[in-house]
Subunit: 250 residues, 2 copies
């Protein structure tokens, strides 16, 4: 680049006022997000910038409904699945049965979209009774991108563990739902036992991953829709965040 | 919800074929992303699902150019800034001068958009010579959302540290650029010294944050556009990922 080009550069740098051309956003609370900022709110959720949040901002409920029901959610999930698969294929497996991958269940292996459609896509606060009734139905469909990844991992020789925030009393319904939606041959399904109740998800899930590591498993990959599925300690070599703008679990 | 509603539910669950209505995406390499998946690729970058990548996929260069130049980037940054600010205001400062916030510089405090506009928004591989020439100009404008946050943090009483992957020989140009674009009163500016060369950014930055902690600083917040600004060890209480779909630093 010659000096003339550099000068043009400098001029464009000094006139980069377009970055300021919109008045600065005021965001006093998540309840007052202007609707044209909903996509940015969603990004903040997916990157864990949003921190803890209780419900989808009212101004963004329509946006979330459209996102979840349309092509964007499916495409975003597909890309996560393909990137997970590309990583999995790059792993050199030891082949002793200790090459592990950990999956969360809700909004990861199974989609509760039919349930959340019914209750307005995150607008309502989480209702445990109503969700428990839905779980009992064992009717959640597989998330297609995760289903495809799950099967490929087993073909590649990974040992698959399921680690969910659901509780032991939901074991039957959960296993039934997994089998009905086509999942099989997982090594172990972890649910919250009595001693796990009340723990933050990231603590409970870190403890279970640490158990696996102490048994000699190498956790290469971990798939989940919540940052609390993926962080903490005993984290996987690669963690994959599946989109979920409907709810937040600490 | 009565049993009739549950039945409707079940039916909608069993017919959730729309999740499968598009053929599954094939993504053999980042070089072959269908252009209608570029937004999903960007999300994968922002959530750290993409792992290491060398350049923007050719099919997504136009998408990235439009994203960076238009409203979306500015809005996404604004929301990160406002969420950072909301967190900062929630921190109870001890007030002993050890309440710290760490900022990265490039694409965090300063925007190199004029430079990347010139070289085609990430399509070209990173060219150190050309970027060094740009740095020497000290002409990068402030990222407005970070500028606003930076000033608010100082008003609130945080001690601000700057931690950049730039090298010591760029100290003068970097300080000049920061001052010209309006930043002032940072406590310390860390640049890579001779012993830091060749280290992955996450190692170098973790080491520097650990130094601060050993000096008694409490790192409440950390702002950066790369996951390697934020992860590793001695991580902040809250980390804020600023968007950057143009390049990746391991």
């Amino acid at each position: 680049m010659d000096s003339g080009a550099w000068l043009l550069f400098l001029l464009s740098a000094s006139t980069i006022g377009h970055l300021r051309s919109e008045p600065m956003l005021r965001l006093p609370s998540e309840k007052e997000i202007p609707s044209d900022y909903c996509d940015s709110w969603r990004l903040a959720v997916e990157t864990n910038n949003a921190g803890a949040w209780e419900r989808v901002p009212p101004s963004c409920v329509g946006f979330v409904a459209e996102y979840m029901s349309g092509k964007r959610y499916r495409r975003d999930c597909d890309v996560v699945g393909k990137l997970s698969s590309a990583f999995a294929r790059s792993v050199e497996l030891v082949g002793d049965g200790r090459d592990a991958w950990v999956f969360d269940i809700d909004e990861t292996l199974l989609s509760n979209l039919p349930y959340y459609q019914e209750i307005g896509f995150g607008f309502e606060l989480f209702n445990e009774t109503s969700f428990d009734n839905w779980v009992k139905l064992a009717a959640a469909p597989a998330l297609p991108s995760s289903f495809s990844l799950y099967n490929e991992l087993q073909e590649l020789g990974f040992t698959v563990f399921l680690l969910t925030g659901r509780s032991e009393y939901q074991r039957n319904a959960t296993e039934t739902n997994l089998l009905l939606s086509g999942y099989k041959n997982w090594e172990r399904l972890f649910l919250r036992g009595s001693s796990d109740q009340g723990k933050p998800a990231s603590t409970y899930k870190s403890e279970k991953r640490a158990e696996l590591e102490s048994e000699g498993y190498r956790i290469h990959g971990n798939s989940g829709d919540q940052w609390s599925d993926l962080g903490g300690y005993a984290v996987a070599a690669r963690s994959f965040k599946i989109p979920n703008p409907m709810y937040y679990i600490p």
